[in-house]
Amino acid sequence: MIQTAQTNAKKKGLIQMSAKEHLIYNPARECMSRDELHAWQSARLAETVRREYDNVPMYRARMDAKGLKPEDIRSVEDLKHLPFMQKTDLRDYYPFDLLAVPKSEIVRIQGSSGTTGKPIVAGYTRNDVDVWSEMMARTLTAAGCTKDDIVQVAYGLGLFTGGFGAYQGADRIGAMVVPMSSGNTQRQIMMMKDLGVTLLCCTPSYATYLGETIREMGLVPGKDIRLKAGCFGAEPWTEAMRQHLEELLGIDACDIYGLTEIAGPGVAFNCLEKNGMHVNEDHVIAEIIDPATGEQLPYGESGELVFTTITKTGMPMLRYRTHDICSLTDEKCECGRTFARMSRITGRTDDMLIIRGVNVFPSQIETVLVGTQGVAPHYMLIVDRVNNSDTLEVKVEMTEDMFSDTVGHIEAVRKHITDQIKSVVGIATKVTLVAPKSVPRSEGKAKRVIDNRKL
């Protein structure tokens, strides 16, 4: 740790001119010079490519098809020659065919939604769990977390990486962890108050909901609730939401970024400058590409974010296309870290939706409808945000087969569809039955989603 003070939104207002003080978990790495970093990355990239080529037949075939040998990849500059990986690869080689180590070396599985009915899973070696924990320890430290803090984890603890990621990071720091998992707002607030929780990890929308409930209960942030900061991620949010959250809870609200395929939360994180998220570049290499051509774009330009892991051993990812749109900068940050920063995610290159932190693809819903007898594959998804919580309505057209003269029968069909969607997508949706032909048809790619959220 180089410095030991902590700013929060309230203090900032009072002491405007004071410089922010930043905590850094691993200064030797996080503040290494760009030249040192380049050498570090190049060496580990070459090793990773060699391991991937020797152990993952699918990727070897892809490299062979391009006439590439592992020895062709010697430095970060050579990265652009490597073939891409995609989410569909995790589906096509599900569950273990992307492992670069024997299955016995895997100590953890985490998962996320796939593009169709099946989830995708990622295998972690002991090393990979350590790498991920280190990244989350840096993330939490950057938000002001020390071993004296009490960290409430209100991300779901399960296959979803949010909960375990936050737990591991806080545990690594030696902070006191309160593993609440998601939901049960009243109990969350009770623990927050009784234990004097100082740091909160959850989705930004849930944090807002918690904040508003705290206010409604007549509890006073700063007195009854002693939060100083929060690490919020797993869904897109805006600068306006940040300000609202900071005022609501009297905290520093930090944005974090991550994905199961690469590690989990903590791949990139806000420092207290809150001006872009530092990418943990000693563990991953970030690129921005033109999503149409696949060509690399320079710093500052907006395009698709691509990650290459260079320290993971279980399931390394080479040039993994995230489909998230953002830009990168390597301009020096006031906090002292040298790691490049990524901007907020401004959009997607595919049709993935993030609903209450869960990745949802329209194609998953389509898979369910097509697979349910008597149901037409015509549907429309309406996304909204009500009381800071995302809602997903699925409009399904009524068919002869589904129709009956009794409400009970139709409701049973509706419930069946709702349950099927829940089992595949993992979230509750509101299924609405609509008149036949009322969902617009279009030539080619139909417009299936109306997103009314103001993001």
Binding site: M398, T399, E400, F403, S404, D405, T406, V407, G408, I410, E411, T432, L433, V434, A435, P436, K437, S438
Partner: protein, 146 residues
Amino acid sequence: MFIRQISVFLENHPGTLREMTELLGKGGVDLLALSIADTQSFGIVRMIIHSNQIDLAMQLLKDNGYIARINHVICAAVPDRPLGLAGLLAVIEDAGLSVEYMYSSLRKGKNGSAYMILRLNDGQKAAQVFALKDVAMLSQEDVDNL
């Protein structure tokens, strides 16, 4: 002793019921009985019409994109006075049957009776019980003469 009923799926928002009844009305279809079951998001309109108009009505509905189907229900005559309906329901209850839905005819019954359209959980058993307990039921022909 069953009569035919048409059920139609409607979305639950203003104008849908008018549009459908207008469609049938312009086609000359005469409604003898009608009920609406509504939930928050959708409705089911059930109706009884003369049997010689059923094909016409179904054609009109289908041509205009409605989901409709025909099924069989019971039309019972009950005394049109206080406790008249209660008597019928007591018969149903004593037989261990239950009512899934029920509505009344738009036409006034003959001989001081009211006509109730019923769907019970077991139609066959209901018809037997009604016959045994002297509950008057209308045939399709009776309905066609209304």
